[in-house]
Amino acid sequence: MAELLQFVFSGLTVGAIYALVALGFTLIYKASDIINFAQGEFVMLGGMITVFAAQAGLPLPVAALLAIFLTTAVGLALHRFAVAPARGATPVALIMITIGASIFLRGVAQIVFDKRFHSLPSLFGGDPIKIGGAAILPQSLVVLASASIIVLVLWLFIDRTMLGKAVIATAANRLAARLIGVDTRSIVDFSFAVSAAIGAIAGILITPIALTSYDAGTLLALKGFAAAMLGGIGSAPGAVVGGLMIGMIEALSAGYISSNYKDAVAFLIILVVLIFIPQGLFGRAKVERV
């Protein structure tokens, strides 16, 4: 029982990070129909900038804020200088641009920072807390709490503010949104900025547990994308559930089956789910009009 509890906690922690990355995918997809494969690099930048700013002598909270600010700027720049100029290109071409951007950001991180692994001190020390026989790192609780807060704030924001309504309008029908006076370009700008910020926060949160390096983003983007698709692309609850599910499946299969095959089990389950529910768990089936 203690063992199961241990696996569940580690699964939830990793899953929360996947969920945040998946939310980033979802936000940008909602606003612009683009799958942004540079999403993982936002996570990497969040972690790496914090590490190096802290090494340069900044206090940790200031370093973290700086990292979120800079990553948000990178997200905005990605839209303004790479995605927006290619407006009207096919979805595959747009995806290629974001893949190019992710290679570019990895390359820049390699030059500006270095190729080593880095960690951050966790917020409440490294002594594990015992719950029902399972040892839980305080940082795991920080991750879970922060992820919950981000999801809640994002939901309140989208549901309760004018800007949020504009995002929903843009997602529903871009042309109609423009007709009623929504500046859809700024909405897409905004979605890139928020996705980048969420990614950066995820990176800062996970670095004390999982370490970070210039190429940490690829795997996270892959898992986040898979989580978003498992939940049903464009569905925010789907992204959260998908992320947590993949985290849990990985932790449980690493614990009970084989840690070498944890990714294999995760993707096998994704394949099976998609074969039976082709639009993902929470996605709406697309009806093609002829």
Binding site: I35, G100, G107
Partner: protein, 314 residues
């Protein structure tokens, strides 16, 4: 001359002319090596282009088939006593069967869902290859015995250049013929509108499956060549980044353009070699160039240039 220019074999003829003339200008063996890699990748890319450019189906896991082909020529001769050439065909057959089994359920998925399903498939292959160390040597990979054809041991980059070149041209010609066959035309119809082609009586599911199997075989043969040429193989050959690289070659060269497949392979094989001059700036520059190409030649290099030329002539 005009009739010759209009013929569907024009791209193949142009390519053949270039590759025969090119070696005269090669200053060293290294250039043969790069040329060989270009042809091998172009073969895989043409197969993927049939799937993506003509049938409109995305695959983010095509390196999985590259991996099956590569490990076939490694495992066949080493453990099963099969000659390399037979292993190559066995690998191609295996890839076809795997594509059939995997393709049947997942080709019903659309767009990004198909992308994630194929991505999952590619990862599964890579994970199996790096974990079944008893057969594959694990993450360090294994040595691939040299290709021997009737007592003739194939060695040297210049020999491989011609073999890869011939196979690549053959692959191009087959692809061109396929495009202009009834199957090719129904595939293009599927690309334009799946429902419309269904209404017109195209067996959409079986056509998609056919092209998926064909593209898997292209990738498998390319993978076998890659392994035989390098003499060594690691699970990276089936990795996610390799799949992305193949897709990048298709999109960069131009979806639906056979010549584009070669151009895409040239750009992404040669460019990293050129960029090594810039040492640590290599990756950043590569990313930047991919972005710039896609922003300014968004339909891919070849189709965009063709459109430009046509506009200019008018």
């Amino acid at each position: 001359m005009r009739a010759l220019l209009e013929t569907r074999l024009l791209p193949a003829i142009a390519v053949a002319a270039i590759v025969i003339v090119l070696p005269w200008f090669f200053p060293s063996m290294f250039y043969y090596r790069i040329g060989t890699l270009v042809f091998i990748y172009a073969l895989a890319v043409v197969g993927l282009n049939l799937l993506m450019g003509f049938a409109g189906q995305v695959s983010l896991g095509h390196a999985g088939f590259l991996g099956i082909g590569a490990y076939s020529v490694a495992i066949g001769p080493t453990y099963l006593g099969m000659p390399s050439w037979l292993s190559l065909f066995a690998g191609a057959a295996l890839s076809g069967i795997v594509a059939f089994l995997v393709g049947r359920p997942i080709l019903r998925l659309k767009g990004h869902y198909l992308a994630v399903a194929t991505l999952g498939f590619g990862l599964l292959v890579a994970i199996v290859l790096s974990n079944e160390a008893g057969w594959t040597g694990g993450p360090d990979g294994m040595t691939v015995p040299k290709l021997t054809l009737f007592d003739w041991s194939v060695r040297g980059s210049d020999t491989w250049y011609w073999i890869a070149c011939a196979t690549c041209v053959l692959g191009f010609v087959l692809a061109l013929n396929l495009m202009h066959s009834p199957t090719g035309r129904s595939l293009q119809a599927i690309h334009d509108s799946e429902i419309a082609s269904l209404v017109l009586g195209v067996d959409v599911a079986s056509k998609k499956l056919t092209i998926f199997i064909i593209s898997a075989i292209y990738a498998s043969v390319a993978g076998s060549y890659l392994a035989l040429f390098n003499g060594h193989v690691t699970p990276d050959v089936a990795g996610f980044l390799r799949s992305i690289e193949l897709v990048a070659m298709v999109v960069l060269g131009g979806m639906g353009s056979i010549v584009g497949s070669l151009v895409g392979a040239i750009v992404l094989v040669v460019l990293p070699q050129v960029l090594t001059v810039f040492h640590e700036y290599e990756q950043a520059l590569l990313g930047l160039i991919v972005m710039v190409f896609m922003i300014f030649l968004r339909r891919g290099i070849v189709p965009s240039l063709v459109a430009m030329l046509k506009g200019w002539r008018k």
